[in-house]
Symmetry: C2
Subunit: 110 residues, 2 copies
């Protein structure tokens, strides 16, 4: 499983699942092996692997195999893509209210 290009559709889709968000939460703290990821989540190894594949395809997570151990890490570029999109929406939305505020405080020339 090689690191893929970040795909915004897949990033948001991947984060719509609570188990996948729990995986991203754990990997934000530290890199973990697949086995260590599965234990506290109380789900099967096969289920974790499936969720990891979705996360890898989205570009949120990267995994590397050394011998028989696969280690999973957060891929911050994936988070950035989602953050940037949300930041842009908020900036646009807030500008609208700044303009409204300007209009309300402008002296009435009529």
């Amino acid at each position: 499983m090689l690191s893929q290009k970040v795909n915004i559709n897949r990033v948001f889709h991947a984060l719509g699942d609570p188990t996948r968000r729990a995986i991203v939460e754990k990997l934000s703290i530290r890199p973990l092996t697949v086995t260590r990821l599965a234990q506290p989540l109380d789900i099967t190894l096969a289920a974790v692997v499936q969720h990891l594949q979705v996360l890898e395809k989205s570009g949120l997570v990267r995994t590397e195999k050394a011998g028989r151990v696969r280690t999973c890490r957060i891929e911050p570029a994936g988070l950035s893509v989602a953050e940037r999109w949300l930041d842009d929406r908020r900036a646009t939305w807030e500008r609208r209210f700044d303009r409204l505020g300007d209009l309300l405080t402008e002296p009435d020339e009529n």
Copy 2:
């Protein structure tokens, strides 16, 4: 369609679709009627209504009917929930590197 409680699973799921993101982009700029939303997106009114239902259920969009006209607005609380989750992940991830930086700059006592 009344405004619903924000649901983080549904927020991220809703944003995983490019048409729904385009709707949120348009509504960040200004409130729009369903018809005005459908025109530039070049999709049927029925498709827009379906996407709006997903967006309303997630808590990202609010719609109000006055007479025969339904107006759609952004619901900033929906964006906030996603932003906060991403911010927390980034903060955790960056703290890890701050600690690593501290370790590397600490004087070697051996």
